[in-house]
């Protein structure tokens, strides 16, 4: 065989071999990923399945992962045992107020840090950034005292007010605004637009992905938060969902496990919807945060 021909056939064999290896590798990878995915989803599926069984059956082993018959009475109980609708309302009101508030304050601040020049800009930015490292627990006691002094104890406002501004949001949106080219502004200035119009009509719409990311992440964090409501709220009618759910276990724990888990599933749904609606922006958003470091 000529040298060229033998080279060719070697390449062909190698190519064939690596194709097979690739396929095999792919199979292995997918299997492993699938195994992990099953583990990740297991607790949620377990919660769902157990909530559809009567309490007495919840404790039998082996666990049935596929419910043979769905018993929705636990879901009904969730709404009758505790004022669940009230919790949902509270969580919704608080979370939406916070999300909207943060979108506004962060968009404004992010734009300013990215595009507006003013003395002390870098200093202010670093101050805000530094607060990212302050743990909630280091501030919660004084904030609790402050809330009390303001007469806002045991109100939903006590949850909303401190969360209206966000260092993370300002940081995130700054990154977004930094990536939008200056050309837009130049063109707008030539048309005689003022600064506010430039922000409102041009750059803000362009930053939609960033706003979406912030909205999703913020919604997720505050819908699910536990520590602040635990400390700031005392009476039942103000409770948010996570607090209400933990208390669904009952004093001295006489609540039914199926009911508790039904509550867990129900409170998962709104966040899930928000995620599914906006999730394509999510990857971009966290990516941007990651790259800029």
């Amino acid at each position: 065989m000529s040298q060229a021909a033998s080279q060719e056939s070697t390449i062909a064999t190698t190519a064939h071999r690596s194709l097979v290896l690739n396929r095999l590798g792919l199979l292995i990878r997918v299997t492993l990923l699938l195994a992990v995915a099953i583990i990740m989803l297991a607790p949620i599926v377990y919660a769902l399945v157990t909530s559809l069984r009567s309490p007495v059956e919840s404790f039998t082993l082996p666990p049935k992962w596929i419910p043979t018959e769905a018993d929705w009475s636990s879901y009904r109980s969730v709404f009758t045992t505790i004022p669940f609708e009230q919790y949902i309302v509270n969580s919704t009101v608080v979370t939406l107020a916070i999300v909207i508030g943060q979108l506004i304050t962060s968009a404004l601040a992010g734009y300013a840090f990215a595009r507006l020049k003013f003395p002390g800009r870098e200093l202010c930015f670093w101050i805000i950034l530094a607060t990212l490292m302050i743990p909630l627990q280091a501030t919660i006691i004084p904030v609790f005292v402050l809330i009390k002094e303001l007469g806002l104890s045991n109100t939903r406002a006590s949850l909303v007010l401190p969360a209206l501004s966000s260092a993370f949001g300002a940081f995130l949106l700054r990154q977004y605004f930094l990536r939008i080219p200056d050309d837009f502004e130049e063109a707008a200035l030539l048309e005689g637009a003022n600064q506010w119009e430039i922000f409102w009509s041009i750059y803000l719409p362009l930053a939609k992905p960033g706003l979406s990311v912030l909205a999703i992440l913020t919604f997720n964090v505050y819908w699910n938060e536990f520590l602040r409501p635990l400390i700031f709220l005392q009476s039942i009618d103000k409770f948010t969902l996570p607090l209400g759910l933990v208390n669904l276990q009952g004093y001295l724990g006489t609540g039914s496990i199926s009911v508790v888990l039904a509550g867990v599933i129900v409170s998962l749904l709104p966040v899930l919807v928000v995620y599914l609606v906006g999730q394509r922006y999510l990857v971009e958003g966290i990516m941007m945060g990651g790259l800029k470091g």
């Binding site: 792919l26 990878r29 492993l32 992990v36 583990i39 990740m40 989803l41 607790p43 949620i44 377990y46 919660a47 157990t50 082993l61 304050t105 404004l108 601040a109 300013a112 507006l116 020049k117 003013f118 003395p119 202010c124 101050i127 805000i128 607060t131 490292m133 743990p135 627990q137 280091a138 501030t139 006691i141 004084p142 005292v145 402050l146 401190p162 209206l164 501004s165 966000s166 260092a167 003022n194 600064q195 997720n220 819908w223 699910n224 938060e225 536990f226 520590l227 400390i231 759910l245 276990q249 508790v260 867990v264 998962l268 999510l282 990857v283 966290i286 990516m287 945060g289 990651g290 790259l291």
Partner: protein
């Protein structure tokens, strides 16, 4: 009086601060931008100062008092810190939290990186989407409520985990009833929930590595492990730093999982620093002491983060 030489179309100049701002010149424009800048950052800056920076300073202040809410506070100077220095339970909680952080963050970073690499390598977007959602889903649950679920699953006698372990011949593990295993159960629960976040971060980081560089490496004969170690990892390092810093800060503040699953037990085996803060301030109504612990936690977080950034010079590679 000398005539001004303004062009007819321009508005008459005003004096004072308004004039200073509305002056129709480059300088005026700059001033308007500056003013707008201050106005724009005002809500955020104010909020952050009042509700974050201020309270940290206030925490320092509160820690110098003894206060049980019912009676007025009394100034006791550094007594709380003296008590803190001798309080083995609180100091132990820092050690416990440290152990937790090391275990949880390393597990979280390694697994989420592997998952991200695995998903990134898939060409089919459908599969990618499915896996992304599956891995992110736990993050959407509330830590407190999903901990209830996991407490049931980890139950020594009635939980599904031990049930399946029993099927493969492993004796029942006292997950929440042993000092060593309880820590592991909490770590697993925490990592399970948090993996989605670092997973997405790494996904983004990996997709940002330019194809050209990878192909060039391939052509040079660097494949598999070498390619990972010498090319992928360094290019991923800024992302790694970001993920590590966020993960560590989060893990240092863990509260909901141990609170719900073990209440810090058995004994104090899973009692984290934040649990001690909660216990002192809100269970025993010792506001001053709780604040002192919080101040110490804050200092620890600052030091650890600073250390991470300092060390990052050695291994992070910026393009």
């Amino acid at each position: 009086m000398a005539q001004t030489t303004h062009s007819p179309s321009a508005p008459a100049a005003r004096s004072g601060p308004i004039g200073w701002i509305t002056e129709n010149s480059l300088a005026g424009m700059a001033r308007r931008r500056a003013l707008l800048g201050y106005l724009f950052i005002l809500p955020s800056l104010l909020g952050v100062l009042v509700f974050t920076a201020g309270p940290v300073i206030a925490s320092f202040g509160l820690s110098l008092y003894q206060w049980n809410i019912i009676d007025p506070p009394t100034f006791i100077g550094l007594d709380n810190y003296e008590r803190l220095a001798n309080d083995t339970r609180v100091l132990q909680s820092f050690v416990t939290t440290g152990q937790f952080v090391v275990l949880a963050v390393s597990l979280q970073l390694v697994v989420s990186l592997l998952l991200a690499m695995g998903v990134q390598s898939l060409k089919q977007t459908g599969l990618r989407y499915v896996f992304r959602t599956a891995y992110f889903l736990p993050l959407l649950t509330s830590a407190a409520s999903i901990s209830i679920v996991l407490a049931y699953m980890f139950h020594q006698d009635f939980g599904v985990i031990n049930y399946y372990l029993g099927k493969v011949g492993v004796a029942r593990i006292p997950w929440l009833n042993s000092s060593t295993w309880a820590m592991l159960a909490i770590v697993l629960t925490y990592v399970w929930q948090q993996i989605g976040f670092t997973f997405i971060v790494f996904l983004g980081g990996l997709s940002g590595i330019s194809r050209d560089v990878l192909e060039a490496a391939d052509l040079d004969g660097a494949t598999g492990w070498r390619r990972f170690w010498d090319i992928t990892l360094p290019m991923l390092s800024p992302t790694l730093l970001f993920a590590a810093v966020i993960a560590v800060i989060g893990a240092l503040q863990v509260f909901a999982e141990p609170f719900v699953m073990t209440n810090g037990g058995p004994g104090d085996a899973t009692r984290t620093v934040v649990m001690m803060i909660y216990e002192s301030a809100f269970s025993f109504l010792q506001i001053g002491y709780g604040s002192a612990i919080a101040v110490l936690l804050f200092v620890v977080i600052l030091l650890v983060t600073a250390l991470q950034f300092r060390l990052s010079n050695k291994w992070v590679f910026y393009q």
